[in-house]
């Protein structure tokens, strides 16, 4: 590792490298692979849902199994697919965008990943160990306390572990962005993806603790006989609802803000134009983040909080339309007067605008409490959130996969296939979810495993299922595209789209593991574009002479810490019915603590790459 030579490594060495890596670019790969795996799992679960609901009185899935699949679909998609995939791009791009050598805490970066992965695996092991959670991704307390078996325990413990990872990653990105920006990169020169990462990370910082506590309450109630939600013992189930949504609402902006950021980069690049209204975009991002914390009770309008609470939360929620609208119009104006090149990423970005607006405005309809009395817990809601999530977040992920593939893998995904993928996915998406609005209004509640014939619900449900199959074709094509590209193995080179504007395009590809030989000097918004326009042959202006670079050492400890918690979760779950449970619980935690103590007692100063070695290093670390 400390040598610059690009040695060919064996398979085992590669596994070890990834297990111990602290390089943000490698961790990005890890997030991408793990996130994709969970996305496909979640997607297959979605297909099972749609097959079951294709016709009335269907018995493809049993009632209990349906609830498990539905719960796992929501949980997997939100926590284990969408967020980690966003983290993949944040890791791959943000340090480059701000001109940093790595994130602030490389060790914690790796820890965050392994916690997420092992938490996710733990959650999914429930399928093989007596049944998955079945109380919805919201896991409302009265039902989840009553739910038999260990499903909900898997949910609570799994999310607890992966949530810790997310929180750590959030703090890491915040510090990176606060402290590690290259000289000249003021806050108001940061690319929007960095900004949205920043705000989303701040949301993580404040939204995850309530979830952590809520999950602890749930774990204690189910496994340690406490009474937080047991109403006969003075507990209160509404507390869970509040805690979940105090986390849950910001969570949706944690998902969508980075997506906004990604699209902002794509629009600017493929319109060959500075992002219109940059400062108002930044302002809108912050405002959305702020308002995001004041509106959670809009998920609880029918809980019976009383008219005053409902009215306040209604109006507060509606306010979010304003900053979001600012963003939409700024993107439109970026296109206006630009030079629009419709590449695959741009195609996704173009598909995003009408789709997201359609999803956003139904959100405003739901924000109207009296109307939400009708819409709540109906398929209208399902339509709304898939419009914003799939039409916003998933489109952004697919777009960025194409857009940033060259940076992450030094290859270009096939453009033609990319466009075909887009159309399948896009049409399928609208077909699936558009008609669900009507299903909801026509009286179809959500989370039902079947519906009766002759209630007017048959046709639209069928359409929806057909659409889902088109989406599946789309996803499959994307996977094929990745495989084909990998086999072909053509190199992409630096700035392959030709119109890159920000610093991530200014590094050579494959990116050296130390990112920048010399820290660049940032002279304005879109620094790479500025240098290009001024005809700078060297690519960038540098802030420092070539000198030694300090690098962190790889470490297996993050993996061991995560593994310890993973093991202890089994102990917690089984301690009531087995004799070994308690020991495993303690042993697992002991392992983690031991690893942490080793970490803190063993001074780890990293190592230096010497100037001389840098001088004749051309490429990177393939």
């Amino acid at each position: 590792m400390s040598s610059l030579a690009t040695e060919k490594k064996g398979f085992g060495a590669m596994i070890w490298e990834y297990l111990t890596t602290v390089d943000h670019k490698k961790i990005a790969h890890l997030y991408l692979v793990a996130g994709t795996m969970f996305f496909v799992i979640g997607g297959i679960e979605a297909m099972l849902i749609r097959i079951q609901l294709a016709k009335p009185d269907n018995d493809f899935l049993s009632a209990g199994l349906y609830n498990e699949i539905m719960t796992m679909h929501g949980t997997t998609m939100i926590f284990l697919a969408a967020m980690p995939l966003l983290f993949a791009f944040m890791n791959a791009v943000v340090p480059l965008q701000i001109g940093a050598r790595d994130v602030a805490f490389p060790f914690l970066n790796s820890l965050g990943f392994w916690l997420f992965l092992l938490g996710g695996i733990f959650l999914n092991l429930s399928w093989f160990m007596g049944g998955a959670p079945d109380a919805g991704w919201t896991s409302y307390a009265s039902l989840s306390l009553l739910s038999p078996g260990h499903g909900i325990d898997f949910y609570a413990l799994g999310l607890q572990i992966s949530g810790a990872g997310t929180l750590i990653s959030g703090i890491n990105f915040l510090v990176t962005i606060i402290n590690m920006r290259a000289p000249g990169m003021t806050y108001m020169r940061m690319p929007l993806f960095t900004w949205t990462t920043f705000v989303a990370s701040a949301l993580i910082l404040f939204a995850f603790p309530p979830l952590t506590i809520g999950l602890f309450f749930m774990i204690f109630d189910r496994m340690f006989e406490s009474n937080f939600f047991v109403h006969t013992m003075g507990g209160n189930t509404i507390i869970w609802e509040h805690l979940f949504w105090i986390f849950g609402h910001p969570e949706v902006y944690i998902l969508v803000l980075p997506a906004f950021g990604l699209f902002s980069e794509i629009f600017a690049t493929f319109c060959r134009k500075r992002l219109f209204g940059y400062s108002s975009m930044v302002f809108a991002t912050i405002l959305i983040g702020f308002l995001g914390f004041m509106v959670w009770a809009h998920h609880m309008f029918t809980t019976g909080l009383g008219p005053t609470a409902n009215a306040i939360f209604s109006v507060a929620t509606m306010a979010i339309a304003v900053p979001t609208g600012m963003k939409i119009f700024n993107w439109l104006m970026t296109m206006w007067g630009g030079s629009i090149r419709i590449t695959t990423p741009m195609l996704y970005a173009l598909g995003f605008i009408p789709s997201f607006v359609a999803g956003g405005v139904t959100g405003i309809m739901q924000a109207s409490a009296p109307l939400d009395y009708q819409l709540h817990d109906s398929y209208f809601i399902v339509a709304h959130f898939h419009y914003v999530i799939v039409g916003g977040v998933v489109l952004a992920l697919f777009a960025s996969a194409h857009y940033y593939w060259p940076i992450m893998f030094n290859q270009m995904l096939n453009e033609t296939l990319g466009k075909i993928t887009f159309w399948f996915f896009f049409i399928g998406f609208h077909l699936t979810f558009f008609f669900q609005h009507f299903l909801g209004l026509m009286g179809m509640p959500r989370r039902i495993f079947t519906f009766l014939p002759n209630q007017g619900l048959d046709f639209f449900n069928l359409l929806s299922t057909i659409g889902a199959f088109m989406m599946a074709i789309g996803v499959t094509l994307l996977v094929i595209n990745v495989i084909i590209t990998a086999i072909k193995g053509e190199k992409a080179g630096q700035d392959p789209w030709g119109d890159g504007r920000t610093l991530e395009w200014a590094v050579p590809v494959p990116t050296p593991f130390y990112n920048f030989k010399q820290t660049p000097l940032v002279r304005g918004l879109d620094p790479y574009w500025i240098e290009k326009m001024e005809g700078n042959k060297e690519g960038m202006v540098y802030a420092e002479p070539l000198s030694d670079i300090h690098m962190p050492n790889n470490s297996i400890l993050p993996f061991i810490i995560s593994l310890g918690l993973f093991i202890s979760a089994f102990g917690a779950m089984y301690h009531q019915e087995t004799t070994w449970g308690l020991y495993v619980l303690i042993g697992g935690i002991g392992l983690s603590v031991l690893a942490m103590i080793i970490r803190s007692l063993k001074d780890d100063h990293g190592y230096h790459i010497h100037k001389e070695d840098l001088m004749d290093d051309k490429g990177g670390n393939v």
């Binding site: 050598r101 790595d102 606060i178 701040a202 910082l205 404040f206 309530p210 209160n236 509404i238 507390i239 509040h242 105090i246 914390f293 004041m294 009770a297 019976g304 909080l305 009383g306 609470a309 820290t519 420092e544 000198s547 030694d548 670079i549 300090h550 690098m551 962190p552 990293g606």
Partner: protein, 112 residues
Amino acid sequence: MSEETTLTPRTEKEFEYDRKRAARGMRKQVAAFAMMILFTFVAFAAVQAGFPANFIGPVILLLAGVQVALQFYFFMHWDEKGSGTAQFFMYSAILVAFTMVLTFVTIIWWGE
């Protein structure tokens, strides 16, 4: 991770000056501490004396607030420059915390 500040030794004069400043700062800390003790005392005494609850309630909350502000500004060095980020995030956290506590004392057991 490259730029660590290179350290130049302080001159004797600077050194003395910094020492004095630090000592002065320490006196401030002790003063803050005295206030904290005082506030704590007042709060306990007020409750022990059994004044009406809806009067001392707000008062002791206020005392707690001030006391915490003292901790932050003096013990935890918010009075020094460069603590802007810390302050921004802490104030945001306090805002979230406040909203949450407010809802929990109002609309958890509504309509009882």
